[in-house]
């Protein structure tokens, strides 16, 4: 599901970063990073295009939000991986983001990211070939079903 994708991993806990990176590789993804600091991640993502990202929200007293905004502008899907007490509030600023609360297994996060990538693909297809409301309608009916 993530084969051949360039996935950025931003996580300031070395052990979690390692587990995430190893899992992404096992799934056939190319890991960009892992980045432990916001500045490094921003530098890196401005130099190369990534297909998706896994973002820890709190990085040594900084938040990952500047990077999340940049990725959002570039249309790059990402997943927030966070231990915050109120994860849902992240959706206020990043409505398209997906959220995995800590601790989530890297496999769960990978599945979440794969969904986000699939959604982004479909959205860009829709922009090209189909009116937006058709997509809205179909997702509504599938939720009801």
């Amino acid at each position: 599901m993530l084969e051949g994708k360039k996935i950025m991993v931003v996580e300031d806990e070395a052990l979690l970063a390692l587990d995430l990176a190893m899992t992404m590789e096992d799934l056939g993804a190319a890991v960009v990073g892992p980045c432990y600091r916001l500045g490094t991640a921003l530098d890196l993502v401005r130099k190369m295009k990534v297909d998706g990202a896994i973002l820890d929200v709190d990085l040594n007293g900084e938040t990952v939000f500047p990077l999340a905004r940049y990725l959002d502008e570039q249309g790059v899907p990402f997943v927030f991986h966070t231990g915050r007490a109120d994860p849902a509030s992240l959706l206020e600023a990043f409505s398209r983001a997906r959220i995995c609360t800590k601790p989530s297994t890297p496999e769960r996060i990978a599945a979440c990211l794969a969904e986000a990538l699939a959604d982004a693909d479909r959205d860009s297809d829709n922009e090209n070939y189909a009116p937006a409301y058709a997509q809205d309608g179909s997702s509504e009916s599938s939720q009801q079903a």
């Binding site: 806990e13 070395a14 052990l15 970063a17 190893m22 990073g33 500045g39 040594n60 601790p103 297994t105």
Partner: protein
């Protein structure tokens, strides 16, 4: 004593009302129907630095420097209280001039004076500013605690997931995972103690399980180094991985094998103080470079890069395995400055991170 009890006592003709009022711990006023102060208690005079002369007979809103004459108090006295028989802990936050912004909890009872049948208002004013500030602090701390607990569970989960199962019995797996969790716990004890962690303590506590092999483990103490909490956590985990590896495959796995641990503080190319820690094994079984890096070895590298903001070099020399850690000497040990330092050892790897290092 609550207000209702006081009211009952005041209705009794046999009690000294003022005496009773003074026993109330919170600032208390008795106002007449024109909102002028009839009586105030000692707590009121104390808390608001008011004198009896300036208080008795003065309209409530004109007390002191007029600090009570704010919109929310006027609203309470003129609109809310006349329509309620009692008010409990009505919260008012207002700017009290020189006293700054304060939060007051106001309780009130209207009652009929037994002696004159006039209507009076009993009012208690509790300054809850401190209490509210502490509540807010507790909420922040609680959120932070929750965050840390989840993070810690994440770390334990990663250890459980990544501890090798291939070629091991369940007992061996359990022993390995328990060892790692114990190392995490020891490092946390040191890093959360609120005091800077001394590198010599960390080395001693990590190698404590090998204390029964005094001939095998030699620690040459360098200048004492105090670590940030992240550095303490990372160093503890790294030393644990090195020692279990030595016990399983290296010098501590055979009689006559030795480990020598030493450190010193030196200048790097930019004249910054760096800590160089050496883990040198000798006299053990023949050393071969492993064909693939296990989780433990990778953890050493990752923890060195992230937690120590430095690097680890692992050298599989035939005469004995050597690990060299280098990381910046923390300027403010016991804090989190290491990770925020400008030096940067993140690895910008685009095509998958390197498992063979």
């Amino acid at each position: 004593m609550d207000l209702d009890e006081l009211y009952r006592l005041m209705r009794s003709a046999h009690v000294q009302a003022q005496g009773m009022i003074d026993t109330v711990r919170y600032p208390l006023l008795v106002l007449d129907d024109q909102l002028r102060v009839v009586t105030a208690n000692a707590a009121f005079y104390d808390s608001f630095h008011a004198s009896r002369e300036d208080t008795i007979g003065t309209p409530f809103l004109e007390l002191g420097a007029g600090q009570w004459n704010v919109e929310s108090f006027r609203l309470l006295l003129e609109k809310v209280i006349p329509h309620s028989s009692s008010i409990d802990e009505f919260e008012i936050t207002a700017d009290f001039g020189t006293a700054g912004t304060r939060t007051m909890l106001v309780s009130a009872r209207r009652l009929v004076r037994p002696d004159t049948s006039g209507r009076v208002l009993l009012l208690t004013l509790v300054d809850a500013t401190e209490r509210r500030r502490k509540d807010a602090e507790s909420a922040v701390l609680l959120g932070e605690l929750q965050h840390r607990m989840k993070n810690l569970l994440g770390l334990v989960q990663a250890l459980v997931r990544r501890t090798e199962i291939k070629g091991r019995t369940a007992e061996e797996y359990r022993e390995a995972i328990v060892g790692r969790i114990e190392a995490l716990s020891r490092s946390l004890d040191l890093s959360l103690s609120g005091k800077p962690s001394a590198l010599s303590d960390l080395v001693a506590s990590t190698l404590e399980p090998y204390a029964q092999l005094p001939a095998a483990v030699e620690v040459e103490k360098g200048a004492e180094v105090f670590l940030t909490s992240e550095q303490a956590l990372g160093t503890g985990m790294i030393l644990h991985e090195l020692s279990t590896n030595a016990a399983k495959h290296g010098a501590l796995s055979s009689p006559g094998g030795r480990v020598r641990i030493s450190w010193k503080v030196e200048k790097d190319g930019h004249q910054q103080d760096v800590v160089g820690l050496r883990w040198q094994e000798s006299g053990g079984p023949a050393v071969a470079t492993p064909t693939r890096q296990g989780f433990g070895t990778q953890m050493v590298r990752f923890a060195a890069a992230q937690d120590l903001n430095g690097q680890a070099e692992l050298i599989y020399a035939p005469e004995g395995f050597l690990a060299e850690l280098r990381f910046p000497l923390p300027a403010h040990p016991g804090t989190s400055d290491a990770r925020n330092a400008p030096a940067d050892h993140d690895r910008p790897v685009a095509d998958g991170h390197d498992r063979r290092g």
